[in-house]
């Protein structure tokens, strides 16, 4: 009896000291929040991003950490539940006191955390291509804005494939709707007539594509070269491409260019019937540059699976993380206000062999690559922009936003400055 009690006491003491020492250690580390869904519908895409963040942090620690301190990842699981994203963000900033948060995938999850980051003055690095029409002081958008993905893709099809007729197919939510609005305005500005544009929306997880593929075939038989611009979201793509393959729609007849289909999405598909269909991104795993090869090697070693692919949002986190590291070094502190000031203008290597720079509108410069699906599920880069493209937060092709600009540097410090009226605070949320 006595013995048991003593054992308990010892155990408690050991546990207590372990806890204390951990507490003492915590003061020595800089915490980095990782806000990606590890369960629920979005886990399919976001789990990989959590892993890549852990790898980047681990690597930085091997290099000696940051400001003489080790980095400590704090992983939370918002479970694909949008309000939970806001709760978890609050927990990360106010309870865990993280220096920066890397996270979110869907636009709705980002919109749900925005007020939290604004209120608590945190830092969010958002790694996914999105619809634009936003610039927030506390958020850094390392994924593509529409002009860094959609518009170059359409330009490529117009020039290389002489496409005259367009099907804009998307899942029914904010990213495809806004992107298609921008594309429609852009196409019309290039002289495409309204009857040569077909817009089609489908629900999330749409599985029966027979009618839509048939109507695309029909739309494509008007004697003008036709292409499909797809903003169809992740999961619905597999049955869509399967149906295209089965109904014999070949890329040489009606090419499909997708903005949400990358290496990761193709991993679950038999890609042989898809050869030649296109995707527009800022990075492909197949990019033949030493920096990319090294990244892939490290990734495979970290994840212990040589078959895992890399994709564009992973590159965005790679860039975003390194930018944050550089900005903190420059500022000498992790204080958000100092980092927001020092990060603008920071240039770090991207994985396609060049450099990406953080612009005053909190978007970054990137090359745009157009790739064709190969039989092995990788992409073959068929075209790339000659230089880097600056992310344009407020689209020039939408009437409500063409006069707006964002500049978070000192005197202006505004996310929606209206150049026509000369006032800060036009449409949308900004400062």
């Amino acid at each position: 009896m006595n013995n048991t009690l003593r054992a308990f006491a010892t155990a408690a003491a050991v546990a207590g000291s372990a806890f204390l020492s951990q507490g003492a250690m915590a003061a020595e580390t800089i915490k980095v929040g990782i806000l990606h869904s590890l369960s629920g519908t979005m886990a399919i895409s976001e789990t990989t991003l959590k892993d890549v963040m852990l790898m980047l942090i681990d690597e930085q620690n091997k290099k000696g950490g940051l400001l003489g301190k080790k980095l400590e990842p704090v992983v939370v699981d918002p479970a694909s539940n949008w309000p939970l994203f806001a709760e978890k963000a609050r927990e990360l900033i106010s309870k865990q006191k993280v220096a920066a948060v890397f996270g979110c995938w869907t636009s709705v999850s980002r919109k749900s955390v925005l007020p939290v980051f604004e209120e608590l003055n945190g830092l969010l690095f958002y790694p996914v291509q999105y619809e634009g029409e936003e610039s927030q002081r506390n958020v850094f958008y390392t994924g593509a804005a529409p002009n860094q993905q959609a518009i170059p893709a359409v330009d490529y099809l117009m020039k290389e494939e002489s496409v005259k007729r367009w099907v804009l197919a998307g899942t029914d939510y904010v990213y495809p709707r806004t992107t298609n609005k921008i594309l429609e305005a852009y196409l019309k500005s290039k002289g495409v007539k309204a009857e040569d544009i077909m817009i089609n929306y489908t629900p999330f997880g749409h599985a029966d594509w027979q009618t839509i593929v048939a109507s695309i075939k029909k739309f494509g038989s008007a004697g003008k070269k036709t292409a499909v611009v797809s903003t169809i979201n992740g999961d619905a793509n597999v049955p869509f491409y399967k149906e295209l393959g089965n109904q014999g729609v070949k890329a040489t007849d009606i090419p499909v260019v997708a903005f949400s289909v990358g290496e990761e999405e193709l991993a679950g598909v038999d890609t042989k019937p898809l050869v030649g269909h296109l995707a527009a991104w800022n990075y492909f795993m197949s990019v033949d540059k030493p920096v990319n090869k090294e990244f892939i090697k490290k990734w495979h070693a970290f994840i212990k699976n040589p078959k895992r692919v890399t994709n564009d949002p992973m590159e965005a986190h790679f860039i975003g993380f390194n930018m944050w590291i550089e900005a903190v070094k420059k500022a000498g502190t992790t204080d958000p206000n100092a980092v927001i000031e020092s990060i603008v203008g920071v240039s770090v290597p991207n994985l396609s062999g060049g450099y990406s720079t953080m612009m005053p509108n909190h978007h970054i410069t990137k090359p745009v690559l157009i790739g064709e699906v190969k039989a092995d599920g990788q992409f073959n880069t068929v075209w790339e922009t000659p230089g880097l493209v600056v992310g344009d937060e407020w689209s020039d092709y939408l009437p409500g936003s063409k006069d707006l600009i964002a500049d978070w540097r000192a005197p202006m410090s505004c996310g929606n400055f209206n150049a026509a009226t000369g006032k800060c605070g036009g449409k949308g949320k900004g400062s």
Partner: protein, 534 residues
């Protein structure tokens, strides 16, 4: 009129005879150096030049280009290609290169435009292939290419062609190519007639593409032909929509039959039903993985092997759930709903932890890929197989409930539990077996759904609402009702979709069901009798 083809033929023959001699070695050099270019224009030009030169390796080089096996040697810019057995050959001479030739090779750049050009070019080169289906495919490629330079090849091929079907396609291809030349009006009108004879979307595309720079008579004939094709296709389109509806209905049916047993017959609101479907799909994945590693030659039978296994896996999990959870909750629908909902999340996360969150690739056996045309209908093999499969599963299930002693006891328990129990039927065991049967059938559905949907942990979720909708609409406890409901909803959905769009179409169907249930709360085919009232 009859004179014209002969004249064209003569000109064509003259070209065919003259061209190899006419083209000098210099242009072949130009073609080969063009392949090393980074610009697609130059590469496309190179293809044209190479084909026109009639160079002996042209066909092999283009085949290699199409397959991504044509390379530029970085050291000296020489063009080489890899043969099927992995040998590296010189593109100019076709002779093997000695030494470690595979070093420093960069593939020739290919995009869709190049692929199209290669296809059209290969078409005109393979028009004389000994196999009729190759000739036919070649003629189809030329038809799509509409390249006037293919005319001489077509004439030469037509002169030798005996097969009537291939002749027809060749004539259509000739007509298509002719429209691109400045041939006389009469010839063009005849060409339009030949193309209009196809009556399909490709013919329509070609005819509609004739610009304004054609003579008015030709434009008028083309417009009339387009209108005729449209009229014909309009009828077929409705038939096609109905077929799509039946196809969607068969998917709904498969997803719902299992639920018709567990919910319809037993009255268990089983929110984990979708996860049984998902388990079936993952079983298919596991079976295919094993086959890929152990016996790749069995791949075409993988689905047949997966069906019984998926049944067993899902039935076992179903029985386990019934024994451990659901049997304590009979008669408490709300608790059952919550408990099974929780179970569905547990199962999803379990699968996510074991197989990972990403989609798993389930291959389609060769016999289920592709499509065939029936009149104006395009029927895809995978959908057709699923329709047949759904009917077979339903028929089997009906036979089981109607003619086996298990089915008899199952019906007895459904109709009057107390009476059945006092007749000596062990109702608790029967409940387990029935639940197992329903779950097992959901597992079988998973095998079929793995062919058309994502195999991911979320697979089941997308079918649970639809399944309940079908069972409730059809009438609880009635398999015929499930069949009629699934087909009705499928066809209605697909007939609405072209007008209302996929999103609104689905909403309209839901509104319809809500109104219908108000009017007939027991669904289409309600069970009647004393047992129902109690």
């Amino acid at each position: 009129m009859s004179l014209l083809p002969r004249v064209v033929l003569l000109i064509g023959l003259a070209f065919a005879v003259l061209s190899p001699a006419r083209i000098e070695a210099a242009s072949v050099d130009e073609a080969f150096s063009g392949f090393a270019s980074a610009g697609y224009d130059t590469i496309e030009k190179a293809i044209e030049t190479l084909v026109a030169s009639g160079h002996p390796t042209a066909e092999a080089v283009l085949n290699a280009l199409e397959g991504g096996n044509l390379f530029v040697r970085e050291a000296d810019g020489a063009i080489v290609y890899k043969s099927k057995d992995g040998k590296v050959l010189d593109a100019r001479t076709g002779s093997p290169i000695a030494g470690n030739a595979a070093e420093g090779l960069k593939p020739v750049r290919v995009n869709n435009r190049i692929r199209r050009a290669v296809k059209a070019a290969l078409g005109s080169l393979t028009l004389l292939n000994p196999r009729p289906e190759s000739r036919r495919a070649a003629a189809e490629a030329v038809f799509k290419g509409r390249d006037p330079t293919a005319l001489p090849h077509l004439e030469a091929a037509l002169a030798k062609e005996k097969d009537a079907g291939v002749r027809r396609v060749m004539k259509q291809a000739r007509a298509a190519a002719l429209l691109g030349t400045d041939a006389p009006e009469a010839a063009k009108l005849a060409a339009i007639e030949a193309i209009a004879g196809r009556g399909d979307l490709e013919a329509r595309a070609l005819l509609a593409s004739l610009g304004r720079d054609v003579p008015p008579a030709v434009a008028k004939a083309a417009a009339a032909a387009v209108a005729a094709i449209d009229g014909r296709l309009a009828v077929w389109n409705t038939a096609q929509s109905v077929y799509y509806g039946i196809s969607l209905g068969s998917v709904l049916l498969l997803a719902a039959i299992g639920l018709a047993i567990t919910f319809g017959v037993m009255g268990v609101i089983n929110m984990a039903h979708g996860e049984m479907v998902m388990l079936g799909a993952y079983t298919t994945f596991a079976v295919q993985e094993t086959i890929r590693q152990q016996a790749p030659e069995l791949f075409d039978y993988s689905l047949a092997i997966a069906v019984p296994l998926a049944f067993l896996v899902a039935a076992a999990v179903g029985i386990l759930i019934e024994r451990t959870v659901i049997r304590f909750l009979y008669g408490r629908p709300l608790e059952t709903l919550l408990a099974t909902w929780g179970l569905s999340l547990v199962l999803q996360q379990g699968v996510r932890s074991i197989f990972g969150p990403t989609n798993r690739e389930v291959g389609t056996p060769a016999w289920m890929s592709g499509a065939f045309d029936l009149g104006g209908l395009t029927l895809t093999y995978n959908r057709l197989t699923i329709i047949v499969f759904a009917v077979v599963v339903l028929a089997l299930l009906m036979l089981i409930t109607r003619f086996t002693s298990f089915g008899l006891r199952m019906r007895a328990v459904t109709q009057n539990r107390q009476m059945a129990a006092s007749m000596g039927i062990r109702t608790p065991w029967l409940d387990s077996l029935t639940f197992g049967l329903g779950s097992g059938i959901a597992g079988i559905a998973g095998v079929a759904l793995s062919q058309i949907d994502n195999v991911s942990p979320n697979l089941g979720q997308s079918y649970i609402i639809d399944s309940f909708m079908v069972v409730v609409f059809g009438g609880v406890g009635n398999l015929w009702g499930t069949l009629v409901a699934a087909l009705t909803l499928g066809v209605a959905n697909k007939l609405l979709e072209p007008f209302a769009g996929a999103v609104l179409g689905k909403i309209l169907i839901l509104v319809f069901i809500i109104l219908f249930i108000q009017k007939r709360p027991r669904g289409l085919f309600a069970l009647k009798g004393r047992a129902v009232e109690g």
